[in-house]
Amino acid sequence: MNEFVLALAALMIFPGGAFVLASGLAFEWIDRKLVARLQNRLGPRWFQPLADLVKLLAKEEIVPDGVHAGLFKGLPVVALAGALTAGLYVPIAGVAPAFSFPGDLVVTIYCLSVLTLCTGLAGTNTLDRFSFVGAIRTLTQLFSYEAPFLLALLSPAILAGSWQIAEIQEYAQQHTLLILLTLPVSFAIAIIGLMGKLELPPFDAPEAETEIVAGALTEYSGRGYALFRLGRDVELVIGLTLISAFFLGGLANPIEFLLKTLGLLVVVALLQALFARLRIDQTVGMWWRVGAALGLLQILLLVILKGLGLL
């Protein structure tokens, strides 16, 4: 009975739901504050993301007509659920992941994409042209960064010879230097892929404020919009944890978790502040020509090295 309670607690409280949501909000604040400071601005107060969330939840959710009501209300919930389930297999807060089974890496990656798919669906579900075009862009971008992002995350898995995040992390803890030496390109692609997934600038064409208002989520307000934003924050935390677990030598304890993920967050914020928004055709072109090619090259290099028994 108590391992059921333990599992429930793991699911709901500590490494699972509540903690991930809280750290999601915290990371969103740090990200916005960092980008602001990079632009010589002050940036939001520490509880701003929480305040936004509470305000949005309190706001009335308007369901526009010509929309499938059930889908309209259900999609945000599914999006957040997808993001949260991905959080279960990832070593959040440096603690061993709540659940772990061989092959959970692939599950995590696809759970992360559930949110983007839901955003795309939400966009096409309404009659509004902005969200229709926003959805098209979101899905185009999804298909363009998914492949390189997958290749980048699989390369350490091939090195460690297992698909289980816990094992890969263990391998990474022992061979940190080896990973960084042989897989620098995958590390870079993974970070840029994460920014593409979260539609952070310069990849924010799907919600270009001056062109299409809020892209696929133009029609959303109140609860639905809050859940989508929350889902995106959670994905930010999970993405950072995953990348630092693989490429920065694992997360043995909470301090290490904090140091490494925040370090990565500084890099992501810097990248956000440095570039102009790429047009959708430029992002797609860049991903397929540069991202996928480098990812494959990296995997090829790994396979050859492994074949020669050097690793």
Binding site: Q39, R129, F130, V133, P202, A205, V213, A276, L278
Partner: protein, 394 residues
Amino acid sequence: MEPAAKSGKFSIPIGPQHPALKEPGHFEFSLEGEIVTSATARLGYVHRGIEKACENRTWIQNLYLLERICGICSHIHALAYALGVEKLAGVTAPPRAQAIRTLVAEMERIHSHLLWLGVAAHEAGFDTLFMYSWRDRETVMDLLEGLCGSRVHYSANTLGGVKCDVSPRHSEAIHRGVDFLEGRTRYYMDVVTHDETLLGRTRGVGTMSLDQAVALGAIGTTARASGLARDIRVEAPYAAYPDFPVRISLETTGDLLARFLVRLNELLETYRLIRLIVDHLPEGELQARIPRRIPEGEAISRVEAPRGELFYFLRSSGSDKPDRIKVRTPSICNWSSVLVTAIGHKLADMPMLLAGIDPCFSCSDRSVRIHKKDGEVEQWSWEILRQYGIDYYR
């Protein structure tokens, strides 16, 4: 993404009002198959009937009404109007007043160009440059506040001269401010010419060749970016420009990048001018007497606003109220000249063409009505048009 237009009715009920719009605008193209046969604009959403209002206000009251036609070039409107009225009344402002007027006009050019730099960067999604350029713009707005008493509508002009004087403390502050701004402008010049992502959005966008510019009567920075040397400060110097000659800044490629460079070079030229004026300010009083009833007659006053030639036609019937005031702002000229370049282009080129001129009112979501040959009329959003262009070329 092939819009459903091909398969059937595809009307998008998007009016010209749009949350991200700064100023509303609406465009209409009629097509012959893929080629645009005619293009017109529907403006007027911010029309306030200023020309009619001028006819029942006194000459001095009109000065402050006309100043509020535009927020970033308010002084140049007042200057053009004041010069016109002084021409009618046969009065010339004293040299010190003319020099101060030119000084404030050049400082306003900095204010307007830095604002445009930020807005253009924001349109391209480069918010960091937007934040930095608007932070530096505060320097020139503080200088203007110190000199004329207010940040945006400086009201430095009055009929017959100026109201504010340049004290040694002002000129020292102006020198310091201009030195800081010059360093920043050189830095932005370096960023705009080297940053790959921004270059990707500006190089080869909305190109207008030299002979197109001549044929279309383009003016201001749009013309100078295509190599057409049109600058009223050089051709028909007014106020104190005869004694402070201006070196024109020209580019030849005629695309958006060239317009960035022309404006930044103009800024550098403006800093040189301001230093020159502040150091050689002629002595003398600030205002000349001007009668309340302006003698009957007509006058034309042309000045170089930050966006191009501003044309004023004033007509007086001898009373203390003007008979007719005609204002032709530079943006109308930019619009009409560029809309005509649309004719003959493919519909797919429209987004680049329209985004290229960065008009005074930047309507990012222009709703577009397409008259197909078979009589069918469709209304596309700006975004669909852009997407259609991308797919067309893919």
